[in-house]
């Protein structure tokens, strides 16, 4: 169909020509967006056509056109017409709209702290529409709705109790992924509005006990209502503890799954630190501080911080392990450990460096990196932490090297002993330590050339022995030497 005819045909009386026009518009909408943007009203009207195929193509074209407009700074009123089709009488039109919401930047920020310009009416249409789609006869529509629905939309739904009931009913869906999405959604709803979960606690408990695919999400949801259902603390914690071996450490799902376990255990212990099995729960959190995955260590430390905020005495057995995390190579694990120790320790009993750390945590919105917080007041303590780290992990990752360089900038006295160790290692027998020393020394010199100048001779000698290093650490040393020479 001629491009100039399509928009006219879309407004005509001939249904077959309207279908043809709508089809043609969709097929070329991505390569001709400007023409469509100028005729948004024609497209919008077509989303209300009596023919479902015309409505489907029109809403698909309208949605892609509107979402394709970059930089939404003002609300886009025409999106109402798109969202309204979530409750269309035709199942294929409903499916089309759920597809339009998938992975669109506008939709991804709805219901988060970065809400784009969204009107209250659009939020209402999205909430009502997606809850409706979660109950759809078509599996694909239900599945997409379960992925796209936000907990804030359920909580702010015109009838949040009914909306939550629809989510809870999805726990019985035949698809494990959909059930998992529903359980996760319930857990998030319970974080915002715990009372909404109350009518569904028994169902969630049965899910936790019987459904392999979703028991950890179900446990996470129940953990949020323990203040009203304290008898659930023991079975929720037991489920989390028993579910340890779901994924191998190298599996991509290991980290998010373990972090959820840690978060749930932390929530349970924070609600009730004395239930039957609480010692075992604390033991799991404590041992996870040594997990090979940095984000799991961070989650464990964060969870222990929440427990300590509720009752510092519960966390006492984990304090030595938390102190070890102050040497962690992962900055956010260090910070989480600092935050937990600040709440767990009694300043009247703690060593001076930890008192300083507690004070610094109390004066900031989020816990600082303990290396930076203590570099000025307790440089020897920081040196000790860095030395311990290098003993455990001679080959430090880029982010860790940058943190050490930042510590050097704060107080060189804390880091110079480490660089002197690196100089020794450059000539040592251990290949890993030579390469690790080259990386670290090179990185710090590049960031702090003035302080790094005293190592120029050692770096030059190492550069002259390329056979002793791998290619990239040797290249880092050469760059450091160039930096020092440029500074001359």
């Amino acid at each position: 169909m001629d491009p100039d005819e399509t928009l006219t045909a879309l407004r005509g009386d001939d249904r077959e020509r309207r279908r043809q026009a709508a089809r043609s518009l969709w097929k070329t909408s991505r390569s001709e967006p400007t023409r469509l943007e100028e005729n948004i009203e024609t497209l919008r009207a077509a989303t209300e056509d009596e023919d479902p195929l015309v409505r489907g193509h029109a809403v698909a074209t309208l949605g892609e056109t509107l979402f394709g407009v970059s930089g939404h700074h003002e609300p886009v009123p025409e999106l109402d017409a798109v969202l309204a089709r979530l409750t269309d009488a035709d199942e294929v039109v409903r499916q089309t709209v759920t597809g339009l919401l998938w992975n669109r930047e506008w939709w991804l920020s709805v219901g988060t702290g970065d809400d784009p310009p969204v009107t209250d009416e659009q939020r209402r249409l999205a909430a009502v529409g997606l809850v409706n789609c979660l109950d759809d006869a078509v599996f694909l529509t239900r599945k997409r709705a379960s992925e796209e629905l936000r907990p804030s939309l359920v909580v702010d739904h015109p009838d949040p109790e009914r909306a939550t009931a629809v989510v809870a009913a999805a726990l019985a869906d035949g698809d494990a992924g959909l059930r998992s999405n529903a359980a996760e959604l319930l857990a998030e709803i319970a974080e915002r509005e715990p009372s909404l979960l109350d009518p569904h606690v028994e169902r969630l408990r049965r899910t936790m006990e019987d459904d392999d695919a979703v028991r950890s999400e179900a446990a996470a949801g129940l953990a949020n209502v323990l203040d009203r259902f304290p008898e659930l603390a023991a079975p929720v914690a037991a489920q989390v503890i028993e579910s340890d071996s779901a994924y191998a450490p190298t599996d991509a799902w290991y980290s998010p799954w373990q972090r959820q376990r840690m978060e749930t255990l932390g929530t349970v212990l924070a609600a009730d630190g004395a239930f039957e099995g609480s010692e075992k729960a604390l033991s799991v959190l404590k041992s996870s501080l040594a997990d090979r995955n940095a984000k799991v260590r961070m989650a464990s430390a964060t969870a222990l911080g929440r427990v300590a905020a509720s009752d510092p005495g519960i966390v006492e057995p984990a304090v030595p392990a938390l102190r070890e995390r102050l040497s962690d190579f992962h900055e956010w694990t260090r910070r989480a450990a600092a935050g937990a120790l600040a709440v767990a320790l009694d300043p009247d009993d703690a060593e001076p460096q930890l008192v300083t750390l507690i004070e610094s945590v109390e004066t900031t919105d989020e816990p600082p990196d303990p290396w930076l917080a203590l570099a000025d007041s307790h440089p020897e303590y920081v040196t000790e932490r860095l030395r311990k780290l290098r003993e455990e992990t001679p080959d430090l990752a880029y982010n860790t090297r940058v943190s050490i360089a930042a510590t050097m900038e704060r107080n060189p006295a804390a880091v110079h002993p480490i660089l002197e160790d690196c100089v020794t290692d450059l000539s040592g027998d251990d290949e890993d330590r030579r390469n690790g020393a080259a990386w670290l020394l090179g990185e710090v010199i590049l960031e702090c050339p003035v302080e790094g100048r005293q190592y120029e001779a050692a770096v030059r000698a190492a550069v002259d022995r390329p056979e002793d290093f791998d290619e990239y650490p040797h290249r880092k040393l050469r760059k450091a030497l160039d930096e020092l020479n440029d500074d001359d």
Binding site: L53, H57, T96, G99, W102, F139
Partner: protein
């Protein structure tokens, strides 16, 4: 394994055993990633650079296929393109295609095919 995925969704002729059709395709190049059945539709999925090998594989089972929808997705660019085939008595003929030059998501191609042909896609 490339960054491209091929999803082949097949409606077999009445009387064709969907499980047998699935066996003929799954775990052979290029459909060695996963397979599924939704009602009578057989879905086989695999990685591959470009749709050519997927189209060639489809041609090996024309005797059993009444209609087919091939979705090719470049996961890096997040662009989908699709082809719908129908059996005309002699073999499979292409009924429509959605070009990758239109740079749209695979999910939008899936929904277009559903609207026009009522064939279920993979996602």
């Amino acid at each position: 394994m490339g960054a491209d995925k091929n999803f082949l969704c097949i409606e077999p002729f009445a009387g064709v055993d969907p499980a047998a059709l699935e066996d003929r395709l799954f775990d052979k190049e290029p459909f060695d990633e996963w397979s599924d059945r939704r009602d009578e539709t057989v879905i086989v999925v695999g990685y591959g650079d470009g749709p050519e090998s997927a189209i060639a594989a489809l041609q090996t089972v024309t005797d059993a296929v009444e209609r087919a929808f091939l979705l090719h997705v470049d996961d890096t660019a997040m662009v989908g393109q699709g082809w719908v085939y129908e059996h005309d008595g002699d073999g499979l003929v292409e009924r429509t295609s959605v070009s990758g030059a239109e740079t749209r998501y695979g999910i939008d191609v899936v929904d277009y095919v559903k609207r026009e042909f009522d064939i279920d896609g993979p996602r």
